[in-house]
Symmetry: C2
Subunit: 283 residues, 2 copies
């Protein structure tokens, strides 16, 4: 990907993610395992003493070996315990396979993963082998496509759609807009649920407010929930649960055994919002 000279210049002693222009998180590099620019974004895999392998896209941490379970469990399990009979699942983004891994713990029929960047899938298969077997499960179909183009043409309907996108910069920008959610709704079965990552409640409150305002015009139930994610900005993250028919706190089944984070108490707790997030409702 680069000449020797470039390589020498580009290998830093640490990787840092800016959470604001003046603050953020740093990781000392034990090793730079992979660095390339795909058609869509810069992809890096570093090895850090504490976090193990860390995947960064355009300098933003996507997942780490040590803390991936926080984000992936909390993205996936709330919808799966609330849906009465989910069989067909769509994941938009999530090319690392971590969300799929959690989904496949349930006896579902079919999981379709639509990832825009095939390089992310290749990298995950090589460097995150504890996540990526889900990408080759017999119930999984992998489709390399732009999420919004896929749902415009989709001839299937889904019980649950997970939007496991990166932040609203780079190739995921359109996945944070109203137009996308309008189209997404047409791919949902009657009791369908959409769950989307919605950014940091601390750093991205304005974007959450904007999303809340347009989502309320599209879905009857627009329920934000939060979870700690140590390597994400501010250490906690916001998700949104969208449905016309399904209410998140009416539990329909137990989660699988062996989870590190999620349980039914955590499920209920996650939907309790602090005052500064609760006030969204008044918009």
């Amino acid at each position: 990907m680069s000449t020797k000279k470039e390589n020498r210049e580009e290998v830093p002693s640490e990787e840092r993610e800016y959470h604001s222009p003046s603050s953020g998180i740093f990781f000392k590099l034990k090793k730079l395992l992979f660095k390339a620019k795909s058609d869509y974004q810069k992809i890096e895999v570093i090895e850090n003493e504490y976090f193990g392998r860390v995947l960064l896209l355009d300098d933003l941490v996507q997942t780490s070996e040590r803390d991936e379970f926080f984000y992936h469990e909390m993205l996936v399990h709330p919808a799966l315990v609330a849906h009465p009979s989910s069989q067909n699942i769509l994941v938009i983004g999530g090319g690392d396979g971590g969300a799929l891994k959690e989904i496949l713990r349930y006896p579902i029929k079919y999981a379709c993963l639509v990832e825009i960047d095939p390089k992310v899938i290749d990298v995950s298969k090589e460097y995150f082998p504890w996540l990526s077997p889900s990408l080759e499960d017999e119930r999984t179909e992998l489709i390399i496509a732009d999420g919004i183009e896929f749902i415009e043409k989709a001839d299937k309907k889904f019980d649950i759609v997970f939007v496991d996108s990166s932040d609203p910069t780079g190739p995921s920008a359109s996945l944070h807009e109203r137009d996308f959610y309008e189209k997404l709704k047409k791919c949902l079965n009657l009791e369908g649920i959409v769950v989307s990552q919605a950014g940091s409640p601390f750093y991205h409150l304005e974007s959450i407010k904007k999303k809340d305002a347009f989502l309320k015009k599209l879905f009857k139930n627009v329920c934000f929930y939060t979870s700690p994610v140590p390597t994400y900005p501010g250490g906690s993250w916001c998700f949104v649960f969208l449905s016309d028919e399904v209410q998140p706190l009416k539990i329909k089944r137990d989660p699988p055994r062996g989870l590190k984070y999620f349980n039914l108490d955590i499920h209920k707790a996650a939907f309790s919002l602090p005052n500064f997030l609760k006030d969204l409702g008044s918009n």
Copy 2:
């Protein structure tokens, strides 16, 4: 505190806190407002573009202008809404005045703050004037003393004791040991509660487990709870609620109005623990 030459050498362009030997948080310095070594620790106040003023003791962030409400509200309000009639409160540590500010929102009679390092109080009065008026409230008594020596000699009993200490390095080390909690219990009224900060559930799990084991021998109710704190390691923090008589989820009164984080839903939610923390009980 230092010669001109030392100052020139010591003013860095950023402050960083290591959360593990190979990762952590960084803050670009807009300005170094204060730096000194007291009899107990290194004290710094920096100005950061995003977080505003940040207080560090021995290179560990204690509080920031922008996110102080997470920690101080979640340290204080759970005990105050659960106690039936708290009138006399003790704070050990907490020289910045942030915990006291939350306590004084309630109609209590008397709050005693025992801080080992008078320099922390002076610095807070000068650089954190939105926290420190609580230190001069007519219900407040300030005592400069070692927390453990104070409770050994105390002739008063308290309804609630908050242990607002720094981490188990430096001058607060003894406030994390069994001996301290044994002595503390003797200062409690019958329906007394102790709430103590207990470290990061992500980074300090071993220390939490150790604390859980000895606390269960001292108190009937040993209830850990968590809250996001963006500038603390991993972005979420653990507290422990200790009492023989009072159960945290039996709410006795409403919290005051005007809080940014805490409400009664959050109170209940905070005591729901993820699987990896719940398993402490088996020790």
